[in-house]
Assembly symmetry: C2
Homo-oligomer: 254 residues x 2
DNA sequence: CCATCTTTGTGCACGCGTTCACAAAGACAT
DNA sequence: ATGTCTTTGTGAACGCGTGCACAAAGATGG
């Protein structure tokens, strides 16, 4: 996974498991597509296929929301769109601030997916005075000196951090102090926040590394038997000599 | 979570649980920071704090890699950096292509975290002829007509999709056909791929929706008792009348 | 060489999430 | 009204991931 919630130990919120909550947006997207094609109803099997999940899982997920299906028929698309939207809190407007308007921040500001679901970019904030006033995605960038005022004036409770890693914790602290209680963090750092504040992180580098792991595994299985694969820990735990597979490590322990 | 692997059902790879693999990059980052500060050894407790995880979990994670610690002392930082890097496959060079050089693709191309860990941007590809030849992050953009040739000439096995949702599946199919076996997908679509191909997705909109859910919950608990919160499923399962909480749905079922 | 102290590595129990498989429920035709 | 057929909703079993708590291991000092 790219993200993991910090704090609030996986306690299922009002009976809806965290894993289910994470899938609801997926269902919602598939349902929205069906809605645009004016499809009136959909079975769990069809919807599951569209969302890329197991149909039993989908039915169980929906069962946490209530009995919104009709046996023998399926689910009413429009009704389900509304129910999931409401459950996710998308029937209300969520003002969001983006802090750190570099390449990534600008890309986020321009991202269409924001506005489409109740999220509204209330402000763009950057620490560089040269950026101040410059419009990005039609919104003038404001200086970070005014961060607290911006948060309070707009009633912002969700903040997006797209700053360099070094600045992330300080920005996070200021956001939280100003009243933000949900943070989406793109900076490659572990943020520490007080209880009651949710943090989700998106980290490119981590995703790539996970892919690399599996990629290496595939390559290793393919070219099997030549080296016998990676040596077991027991076989090399005591001798800190040459690299175990012919490739010298950059640094070895003393 | 922002991502989930498709296919290859959570079968633990060579004994290393998927959950552990996902945390290794986190440990690696913390260790790299320690290494830069020339810290020779670190205890599981310290490292766990830096990575934002439980120390018991960290020790168990490392136990899957082997016995690399010294009781009473801790872990040798440099040695562990090497071991994790090797396990993740970061000791080799991974050429990566980015397809779709819009705002996001350009941001990704400029992202420093790519190059720092063995990942090399081998090519930028876009379908817009007007982009062709234009340098982004110092790399000239190539037209998607040459996608297959680029993949093969550079031995690319990891592809990043940053196209609009509509183009993602087609691009994915071409990447896979050309030999790519790992895909990082930023487009808001469910990609279908053949067995043996790993897909991880990063989806902004989903992350925000998950935050909104929890945010709504917090707000609801705070202003408790006024409405009694969201009605239970049982209480409203049979009557499809007015919106349950005074807010009319956009559309209701027949 | 022995005692003490620190820290690892892991056995165990628990809870969450997933999946199977089926009974219950309703639509629809006759 | 009754039977058939489709599809939901869920009880139950299973497996993975997490965290506790402790024994084993080794460093360090006397």
């Amino acid at each position: 996974m790219a993200t993991g919630r910090t704090h609030r130990p996986a306690t299922r919120s009002r009976g809806i498991p965290e894993a289910t909550v994470a899938r609801l947006p997926l269902y919602l997207r598939a349902l929205t597509a069906l809605s645009e094609r004016s499809v009136p109803t959909v079975s769990s099997e069809e919807l599951a296929a569209a969302a890329g999940v197991n149909s039993a899982k989908l039915r169980k997920d929906f069962s946490y929301l209530g009995s919104y299906g009709t046996r023998g028929v399926g689910y009413d698309v429009e009704y389900l769109v509304y129910q999931i939207s409401r459950e996710l809190g998308l029937t209300q407007d969520w003002p969001v601030v983006i802090v750190g308007i570099g390449n990534l921040g600008a890309a986020l500001a321009n991202y269409g997916g924001f506005a489409s679901r109740g999220f509204r970019v209330a402000a763009l904030i950057d620490a560089d005075p040269a950026m101040a006033g410059k419009p990005v995605a039609g919104i003038p960038v404001q200086h970070s000196d005014d961060l607290e005022k911006i948060i309070q004036d707009n009633g912002v409770s969700i903040g997006v951090i797209a700053t360099p890693a070094g600045a992330a914790q300080a920005v996070c602290d200021r956001l939280v102090a100003a009243g933000v209680t949900s943070i989406l963090n793109f900076a490659p750092t572990v943020l520490s926040v007080p209880d009651g504040v949710d943090v989700r992180k998106v980290d490119l580098s981590i995703e790539l590394q996970i892919l690399a792991f599996h990629e290496q595994r595939k390559a290793g299985e393919e070219a099997a038997s030549s080296d016998g694969g990676v040596p077991t820990a027991a076989a090399r735990s005591d001798s800190a000599d040459q690299g175990p597979d012919g490739d010298m490590p950059a640094v070895m322990p003393a």
